[in-house]
Subunit: 226 residues, 2 copies
């Protein structure tokens, strides 16, 4: 859910803009206009993702990136570099400071958002959590109970495993083969169409009257929780 995002950028107007939009999206946003300060604050607040301006007073974005990426503790924090158009992307990439993605200014907000989401998806799979939720769906691995809103839902073992797998990476599309491998197990010998049937059973179970469909069919690709 609402991830914490840290922005390091010396142009106030950009901070304001991004912040406003990201907060609307449900993210918690902090920021700093100063490189040195930023590094300290990042270490303190442990954000889930950092937006880092390339050019900064005091300590450059490259330097912050390097520092974070060389620290075992912080290197897993994904970093998106904001670079100006003139600053030759290739050169930036070539320097290989370990940023996870780059966005060139001026950037469109939808693009930035998409990249943020892509990175968060990749770096933050809710694997180890006891209770995971997606939208109004909640799954408690300890008690093995599933809720849609406040209502408890009863699932068969396979449907439960299927949902448990989907919810680890919401929005991600999985092929039937991937689902078979991850939910049924690698060796088992089951028709791939069987997945359809279990998806149907899962859908039927979690779709309480009038509620939104949560499983998306992607033709010729598979299914996703979305």
């Amino acid at each position: 859910m609402n991830a914490k995002i840290f922005i390091v950028e010396d142009e106030k107007s950009i901070i304001t803009l991004i912040k406003y939009n990201l907060e609307k999206e449900g993210y918690k946003v902090s920021s700093s206009e100063n490189g040195e300060e930023a590094l300290k604050e990042i270490k303190e607040s442990a954000p889930d993702l950092v937006l880092l301006d390339w050019m900064l007073p005091n300590l450059s974005g490259i330097e912050i990136c390097k520092q974070l990426k060389k620290s075992a503790q912080y290197k897993s924090i994904p970093i998106i570099m904001l670079t100006a158009k003139g600053e030759e992307e290739d050169k930036v990439r070539g320097l290989n400071v370990g940023a996870d993605d780059y966005v060139t200014k001026p950037f469109s907000y939808p693009e930035l958002l998409a990249r943020i989401e892509a990175l968060l998806r990749r770096s933050k799979p809710s694997v180890a959590q006891d209770v995971i939720s997606f939208e109004d769906l909640k799954i408690d691995r300890i008690t093995r109970r599933v809720y849609r809103g406040k209502k408890e839902i009863s699932l068969g073992p396979t449907e439960y495993n299927l949902l448990d797998f989907f919810i680890k990476n919401p929005k991600r599309v999985y092929s039937r083969e991937q689902l078979l491998e991850n939910v049924w197990g690698n060796d088992i010998n089951v028709e791939s169409r069987t997945v359809d049937v279990h998806v149907r059973r899962l859908r039927q179970a979690i779709n309480i009257a009038g509620s939104k469909e949560l499983i998306r069919t992607v033709r010729s690709a598979g299914y996703s929780l979305d």
Copy 2:
């Protein structure tokens, strides 16, 4: 991720080995044992990376490399030279003719893979990225969603694949044959005019009212995303 790699190598056993491994990794692999043929096939199939043996019957690897690198259209394709062991001279010459990297035989497969990945990341980020965008068009390969600006666009499988292919090399013009080969698959038997229809469908889908046309028709040559 799903990059296409072309191998030029006269030893079948090496081809088989590399191919097997790379395909396991998710790459699409084609190959040729013959220099002259290879050059033609490379130009046709538009691979994302070429593995090039140094010594070849007919046309040497150097020559192929030179030819590709002097062509504006193909010079952006990264090339890894496979050279016999430790010939420093070769290395120098290889880099002189424009190869982007080289691996000496016998090589370890992990090393080769590492170099391939490094090169793809560096020179063709669009091949490995989760989110790719061109102008205000955006495609998310993980969720398999496509956006024009903020608006989501729904595409059928073929249109999606077509766009995914175009966006890897924006502005590059592809003939109908190249598109058939890369989007439909090598063996399939489809009229080349069918491409027109799918291009039309793609155009229709991504051209939201009042927005710029993104697919360019190049008379007697093909189409490009531009």
